[in-house]
Structures are given as structure tokens and as C-alpha cells.
């Protein structure tokens, strides 16, 4: 579904590439967790997929069509097929849950109607049902500021789902949430992933979550893919290589 060929990103002013020569083939139904240290290129990788970051080399294809070299108008069409959730939620402050979720439809609507806040009954119904699916039905009219972190991320997920995406991207969606909440968010993501038959690509720091939910793990180090395979094959050696850590026992020791 998504084909990544020789992808490289070099930020202006840097001498080392943030991503170098990444080649991956991502299929519908994959629930991919991307692991790696801070600065390994995880965010850059995710942001390249929906064109928020322009690569300096290589290309990404969606169903054989280029994302990397797409024209602005085509890029908008590609983006609306990709829901994205963020570490800091990136919701619009001072608006209600429902209003925030409605912004997910902006890619589909002509801008003149957007401006006057007119939404079709069908879109409104879809937004309400998505809000109910993420478990916020009673909070639809509440302001974003009055929600907890976990609830905010649920709104973020609802905004992504109202787009009716085929691909779901997550840039460290649980990095600022506590472990219990993170787990519940992942349960929700996995449920939606399976029900809607998505391709899901998520950056995580928490290797335990990755092993529990992912169907495929990709590990990045210094911008290169050093592991791509099933979660059960991601063992201590791979962990050590990914994180260059002497204290792998701290995690793996507990299991034994």
C-alpha cells in the first residue's frame, strides 16, 4: 500500500542525515510500531509519509502514486486519506470536542463552506458517532481545555477517524500520558485499526506497548532501519542495538 524507496532526509545545517536510505513496504492491515532513541529519525519518518516533511532523497508512493512529488492539490487529497495523531494532541484550543472533531472534515469540504462553519447533517452525524466510538459521547460540547490528557488524545483520534482514513499515523501519541492511559489509548487504536482495516504506523518509546500491540516492529538508529520484523523477534540483542543501552536487563530481566 505504501512503498518507501531510498528515503533520505538531511535537515539544513546538519551534516548527518536524519533518515538515510530507508526502504520499506507497508501493507494494509499492518500495525507498525516504530522504535528508536530520541533523534533516531522516528518523527521525521512519520512526517515524511503524509508530506509534512519533504525528503531530500528518495520517494514515497501510495498505491503506486507519488506522495513526495505530489502537487499541492494532490497532496491535500492524499493527506485526507491519512489520519494523524500527535504527542501534544494539537487540538484547537477554546473550541469544543465536537468542533475539533469537525475540523477533521476540512480536507473534504470546499473552503467557502468551511469559512461559515456550515456542516452537512451527514458529517455531523459521522462526527457524533466517532466521538461515541472513542468514548466521549457525554463530553461532545465540552471545551478542550477541560479535558484530561487521555481524553484529549481520544479527541485527536476521533478527528483522525472522521476523515475516514485508510492510513493512521501516530507521532508519539502516548509519550505524554501515564502508563495506564497509554495502554487504553493503544487498545482503542488497535480496535479501530482492526475494525476499519487500516494501515497504522505509530512511533513509541514504550517497547512493552510496541511488543503487545504491534504486528510489525521497525527500529531506527541514526536514520537507518536496523530491524524490521515480528515483535517476537525483537529480542534483547535488537533492543541493545536500538538503544545502545547496557541496562537492557532492566527491561528484559524482569520478564525472565
Amino acid at each position: 500500500m505504501i512503498e518507501i524507496k531510498n528515503l533520505s532526509v538531511l535537515y539544513a545545517g546538519n551534516t548527518e542525515e536524519s533518515l538515510s536510505d530507508v526502504n520499506l513496504s507497508l501493507q494494509k492491515g499492518d500495525f507498525i510500531c516504530v522504535l528508536g532513541k530520541s533523534g533516531a529519525g522516528k518523527s521525521t519518518f512519520i512526517r515524511c509519509i503524509n508530506g509534512l516533511q519533504k525528503p531530500t532523497g528518495g520517494e514515497i508512493l501510495l498505491d503506486g502514486k507519488t506522495i513526495t512529488y505530489a502537487k499541492e492539490e494532490d497532496l491535500r487529497k492524499i493527506r485526507r486519506e491519512m489520519g494523524m495523531i500527535f504527542q501534544h494532541f494539537n487540538l484547537i484550543p477554546r473550541l469544543s470536542v465536537l468542533q475539533n472533531v469537525m475540523t477533521g472534515t476540512f480536507g473534504y469540504r470546499n473552503s467557502f463552506k468551511n469559512l461559515f462553519g456550515m456542516f452537512t447533517a451527514e458529517e455531523l452525524k459521522r462526527a457524533r458517532s466517532v466521538i461515541a466510538e472513542v468514548g466521549l459521547a457525554e463530553m461532545a460540547t465540552r471545551r478542550i481545555e477541560n479535558l484530561s490528557g487521555g481524553q484529549k488524545q481520544r479527541v485527536g483520534i476521533a478527528r483522525a477517524l472522521v476523515q475516514q482514513p485508510r492510513v493512521l499515523l501516530g507521532d508519539e501519541p502516548v509519550a505524554s500520558l501515564d502508563p495506564g492511559t497509554s495502554d487504553r489509548i493503544f487498545t482503542l487504536l488497535k480496535e479501530m485499526h482492526e475494525r476499519l482495516g487500516l494501515l497504522t504506523i505509530i512511533n513509541v518509546h514504550d517497547i512493552e506497548l510496541a511488543k503487545r500491540y504491534a504486528t510489525r516492529i521497525v527500529a531506527l538508529k541514526d536514520g537507518k532501519v536496523i530491524f524490521d520484523g515480528l515483535p517476537k523477534d525483537f529480542k534483547e540483542a535488537e533492543y541493545q542495538e536500538t538503544y545502545e543501552s547496557q541496562s537492557a536487563d532492566a527491561y528484559f530481566g524482569a520478564e525472565i
Binding site: 491535500r76 492524499i78 493527506r79 500527535f86 484547537i92 477554546r94 475540523t103 476540512f106 480536507g107
Partner: protein, 214 residues
């Protein structure tokens, strides 16, 4: 001094209805001047903010244009416009508007630059057009600050329109000036009192409106 001020009392209430009418005229001048200033400045602010400007040329051009209108005091605009367009409140409104475009443009473009970039990115990621993304992600963030700046500029515009009244812009300012120049001190005292009451009422209204909107 005491001799002079004693001439201000007792106040002469005989012209109160005319004074109230002039006060409303002053309010209208200040209000229209700042509202039109805000409406025109709002789109320009997006061109003059580094993060939302469509092109560097437009950015520089709008910045310079805003500095230019801001650097000219209302009284200068007033003198030019009252001479060319004739006496009365209309040129005064235009004078206030021009200066306010410059002031609002600077303040709002700085608010836009300071807005959280996260929501803008999220709007881009859902595939919305850039200008829609900017509008919907930034405006709700900056709205309370825009509003309080508007009320502050409205208050300033009331004082400005008094000064513009002195040079023939109409309103309570012109009446105050005329009463003063014709030694009608018992009317001057009432003019001043009315102006004070007006400013206090506006301040009170502004804070209650702002409280309700935020």
C-alpha cells in the same frame, strides 16, 4: 487657579441633550474607526506574520505598509483629511481607522507569530487548504487577546476623537473646544464630566463583554 476653576461651577445643564448627542457622535466615531481598523487589519496581519505569510515579498511589503500608517499620528491624518474632505466626523473616522490599521496589524501579526504551531500542523495533516488551516487553528487561539486589544484601542480612539474634534472633527471634543474658546466654563465643566462618565461606562462594558466571550 481657584478663581478660574470657580467659574466652572455651577454647571450649566441647559444644553445637556445636545451634549449627550455629541457624546454619542464621539462614541460612534471612535467605534467605527476602531472596528473598521480591526476588520481591515485582520487579513493584513496574516500577510505580515512570518509563519502565515504566503511570500517573503508580501511579508516585507505589508510590514512596511503597516509601519508607515502607524508612524503617522491621527492628528496628521485628521489635518489632511479634514482639509481635503471637509469638516465633520467622517474624515475623523478615516483618520482613526488608518492609524488603527497600523496598530492592530502589528499587534495581531505578533500574536499570530506567537500562536502554537501544533494545531496548524494538525490542520495541514487533515488536508485542508493552507489559508483555512491558518484561519481555523490560529483565530480561536488569539481571539481573546485581539478582543482586549480592540477594547483598549477603542478607549484610545475615544480620546483621539476628542482631539480630532478640536480641529473640526465634530463630537463632544469640538463642543468642548468651542465652549472653552467662548468662555462658557459652566458648560466646559459638564462636557468634562460627561466625557469621564462615558469612558468609565465603556471600560465597564468592555470588561463584562470580554468576560462573557472568553
Amino acid at each position: 487657579m481657584i478663581d478660574f476653576l470657580s467659574q466652572w461651577f455651577p454647571m450649566d445643564f441647559s444644553l445637556l441633550p445636545n451634549m449627550v448627542q455629541d457624546t454619542l457622535e464621539t462614541l460612534a466615531m471612535a467605534f467605527l474607526g476602531s472596528v473598521f481598523g480591526l476588520i481591515i487589519a485582520l487579513p493584513i496581519s496574516f500577510l505580515a506574520a512570518r509563519n502565515t505569510s504566503p511570500s517573503p515579498i508580501l511579508f516585507q511589503f505589508s510590514r512596511i505598509a503597516l509601519s508607515f500608517v502607524r508612524s503617522i499620528p491621527e492628528i496628521v491624518f485628521g489635518l489632511i483629511l479634514l482639509t481635503t474632505l471637509g469638516l465633520g466626523p467622517f474624515p475623523a473616522v478615516i483618520a482613526i481607522m488608518f492609524h488603527n490599521i497600523g496598530v492592530f496589524g502589528k499587534l495581531i501579526s505578533e500574536l499570530i507569530e506567537a500562536a502554537d504551531p501544533g494545531p496548524q500542523e494538525a490542520m495541514k495533516a487533515v488536508g485542508s487548504k493552507t489559508w483555512v488551516a491558518n484561519l481555523f487553528s490560529i483565530l480561536p487561539q488569539i481571539w481573546p487577546n485581539v478582543l482586549s486589544q480592540f477594547f483598549y484601542r477603542f478607549e484610545v480612539a475615544i480620546r483621539t476623537s476628542l482631539i480630532l474634534g478640536f480641529i473640526g472633527g465634530g463630537g463632544i471634543g469640538q463642543r468642548l473646544f468651542n465652549d472653552f474658546k467662548t468662555f462658557q466654563y459652566s458648560s466646559v465643566s459638564l462636557d468634562v464630566l460627561i466625557i469621564m462618565i462615558m469612558v468609565i461606562i465603556i471600560d465597564f462594558l468592555a470588561s463584562s463583554i470580554r468576560k462573557r466571550i472568553i
